[in-house]
């Protein structure tokens, strides 16, 4: 890397400096930002080649690709920030096919005036998340928009991964009789963000569940390669994830409210904010659907992984020409769990 580095008169002021339009204009300032901030932080041989593209060898087999933009507000929240979220979000989208994520690329859309110190914090957090996940960020792009035309920072990540042989996970694969599992309590991420925005405190801080789930998924497909569907319930929460499955698989789903894990402080916050935890985003949970005879193995596998300790079987797939998701309430009645209407929580991820 050293021999390709250009010499800049003064190094970036990462403490007091701020983003200027020149940082996105393709000139020296931009290359300085890349060389002094992004390349050392992500620190991998593919990025260090400093080409307009990353060159890598691909194994043969079924490849998946996913992309996700992140506009979360505020940028920093308990349990993460826009950087770690951008890494986890795309890794999870790739992993929900059963795939092992290989590489990420990223785009930063920066607003003129954004503090370089904050950018460094985000980039460092992204780099840490990517290192911990073992999925390097090997390509990137930076754009700068005028003050007032953005909101600080937007981050897009794209990921690719390989699906192990014999694994066929898709939202269209659920069949009547299947069991529905979730990997942990719902709604932590959405409520963490909302509590921060509304200045709510609940005795204990609600921390986002943001996490990379590919390790959990690898264990799941290793023990139950026949798992039918997986989804990470992000925007729209469990409700949206299951309605998608019901529609794509042409089935109905029955849930048991009493079995759905939700932390008491998340329930309390939802009561106060008028939200339903079933519609609140998670960033480190998954919902899985598998044959009834596989569900106890899958549950045990999930509970054996640190990110699935509180996993639970929450319902079953049924025949239903209307493709409704219904729920037996704890109170003893029945209700639908319909698609989310409108935008309950804007800019949650």
């Amino acid at each position: 890397m050293a021999e390709t580095r250009r010499v800049h008169v003064r190094s970036l002021d990462l403490k007091r400096g701020q983003i200027e339009l020149v940082h996105g204009s393709g000139g020296k300032a931009m290359s300085q930002l890349i060389e002094e901030l992004f390349v050392p932080a992500f620190d991998n041989p593919w990025l260090a080649e400093l080409n307009d593209q990353a060159r890598f060898d691909a194994p043969s087999g079924r490849m998946v690709m996913a992309t996700d933009s992140h506009v979360v507000s505020p940028l920093f929240f308990p349990g993460g920030d826009i950087g770690s979220l951008a890494v986890h979000g795309t890794i999870n989208d790739v992993a929900m096919s059963g795939a092992r994520p290989l590489y990420l690329s990223t785009t930063f859309i920066l607003e003129e005036g954004f503090a370089l110190a904050d950018l460094r914090r985000v980039v460092d957090s992204m780099a840490t998340a990517s290192r911990e996940a073992g999925v390097p960020v090997i390509a990137g792009d930076t754009k700068v928009v005028e003050r007032g035309k953005g909101d600080g920072l937007f981050v897009t990540t794209t990921g690719i991964g390989m699906v192990p042989g014999g694994v066929d996970v898709s939202a269209g694969n659920a069949v009547p009789g299947d069991h529905v599992l979730v990997s942990g309590p719902l709604g932590d991420h959405g409520v963490a963000i909302m509590s921060l925005r509304e200045n709510l405190s609940f005795g204990t801080t609600i921390v986002s569940d943001s996490a990379a789930l590919h390790g959990l998924v690898a264990a799941m497909v290793e023990h139950v390669p026949r798992v039918h569907c997986m989804r990470d319930p992000t925007r729209g929460g469990l409700a949206a994830a299951l309605n998608e499955v019901a529609a794509r698989s042409s089935v109905g789903i029955n849930l048991e409210e009493a079995h759905i894990p939700v932390r008491p402080q998340v329930r309390a916050a939802c009561e106060l904010l008028g939200l339903d935890p079933l519609y609140v985003a998670c960033e480190g949970r998954l919902v899985a659907i598998c044959a009834a005879e596989d569900s106890s193995t899958l549950l045990a596998t999930m509970r054996g992984h640190p990110l699935g300790r509180e996993a639970a079987i929450v319902g079953e797939v049924i025949e239903d020409p209307n493709h409704f998701v219904e729920m037996k309430t704890e109170f003893g009645g029945r209700r639908m769990v319909d698609w989310l209407t409108g935008d309950q929580l804007p800019r949650i991820c």
């Binding site: 009493a258 008491p264 329930r267 309390a268 009561e271 339903d276 209307n322 409704f324 219904e326 037996k328 309430t329 704890e330 109170f331 003893g332 009645g333 029945r334 209700r335 639908m336 319909d338 209407t341 409108g342």
Partner: protein
């Protein structure tokens, strides 16, 4: 969760359901109206219908602020942004309510109107303080629950001599609407709906107390049970109504004693009386003109009254031809009886106001209960 789980306990609910079943008179039907949209939402969300015997029928009432606001008033609000260029502050639900010709506050906003969603009237005051060059109007809607905060805001604006703040007042009153439903001879356009008893409002009653329903219960010989918004509250209220009906009583009973007294919140009542006075008549969606059923700002606070400040002309605009919100709000029809329910009228593309707010009977039935319509037809 403390103070919530106690009121949602499934075991207690089953016990109450058994008690109700054992107490009903098999020879009769119990038609009970929950006036409040809050109760409608609770009933739908917890599936309370499944716990009640078929002879107990819950009829949804008009107690949803967004639902009962007539189109004319909404068009007035849109007109304020268009003709006077005001910044209009409003609750989120109001944004999507369909006005005339496919208009809504949301479409007005997309065309450039300055419409801002606020959580409370205090946010609207803050917008006025922060934008002294703009005329800021708070689009006030709601029953007696949201009226006292509007009164406080007007008094606060007066104290601060805030020159650019005003209120477009659409606050309405619960007891006259109940009377209109029960068939008050003065209420035009309202039909007499056969309702045997009323589940009385929770939050409204914390403000006005239980006393204002006493005349209603005696005059119309219908029992009223004021109850909280938790599902066990509703079940208990049903049981109390069944008992009253079986015993031929028509009294006001208060299940919600943890929050409601006979006299209510005197301070809030005093604030309302200081700032507001009754309109001789006000149009409700579904109920038509109801005498003495709404509040207007007293002339002493005229400068904060958007109606006089911007010479708002009252207009009466009929609902969309296919929309049956009126009959739904009067309890004459169930949401699924409406021809456009769930077909062209959905929460994403509402034709009528009852499909907009989560407290609206149609929105609640669409989101939580419409699977029952399919079970019936199957």
């Amino acid at each position: 969760m403390k103070y919530v789980d106690e009121f949602r306990d499934g075991k207690l609910a089953r016990g109450l359901a058994r008690a109700i079943r054992s107490e009903i008179d098999p020879r009769r039907i119990y038609r009970l109206m929950e006036f409040c949209g809050g109760h409608t939402h609770t009933i739908a969300r917890h599936g309370i219908e499944d716990l009640l015997p078929p002879s107990v029928r819950m009829i949804h009432g008009p107690g949803c602020p967004v639902c009962v606001l007539p189109i004319g008033r909404l068009e007035n609000a849109i007109g304020l942004t268009r003709e006077h260029g005001v910044t209009l502050c409003t609750y989120g639900d109001m944004l999507r309510v369909p006005a005339a010709k496919g208009n809504s506050l949301l479409t007005a906003k997309a065309r450039g109107a300055d419409v801002r969603m606020v959580y409370s009237v205090n946010d609207a005051l803050a917008v006025a303080r922060d934008n002294p060059e703009r005329e800021v109007v708070f689009f006030a809607i709601g029953f007696e629950t949201t009226t006292p905060p509007t009164a406080v805001a007007i008094l606060q604006a007066e104290r601060e001599s805030l020159p650019n703040f005003s209120v477009f007042c659409n606050h309405v009153l619960t007891p006259p609407a109940m009377a209109a439903i029960a068939g008050s001879p003065g209420a035009q356009g309202s039909a007499i709906v056969p309702i045997d008893g009323y589940v009385g409002p929770a939050h409204v009653s914390t403000v006005i107390g239980s006393r204002p329903y006493e005349h209603f219960a005696a005059h119309y010989r219908r029992p009223v049970v004021i109850t909280g918004f938790e599902p066990l509250d509703v079940m208990q209220a049903v049981r109390m109504l069944v008992r009253q009906l079986n015993e031929g009583r028509s009294e006001v009973e208060n299940e919600f004693t943890r929050a409601v007294t006979r006299d209510g919140n005197l301070k809030a009542q005093q604030l309302m009386a200081e700032v507001f006075e009754r309109r001789t008549s006000f149009e409700w969606r579904g109920l038509g003109s109801v005498p003495y059923s709404a509040q207007r700002i007293k002339s002493r606070f005229q400068q904060f009254d958007a109606e006089s400040r911007f010479c708002v002309t009252p207009q009466s605009i009929p609902d969309h031809k296919a929309c049956e919100c009126g009959d739904v709000l009067r309890g004459l029809k169930k949401p699924a009886d409406c021809r456009v329910f769930g077909t062209v009228c959905t929460p994403e593309t509402p034709i009528g106001s009852c499909m907009v707010s989560s407290e609206g009977a149609c929105a609640a039935h669409y989101a939580y209960g419409r699977f029952r319509d399919h079970q019936r037809s199957a």
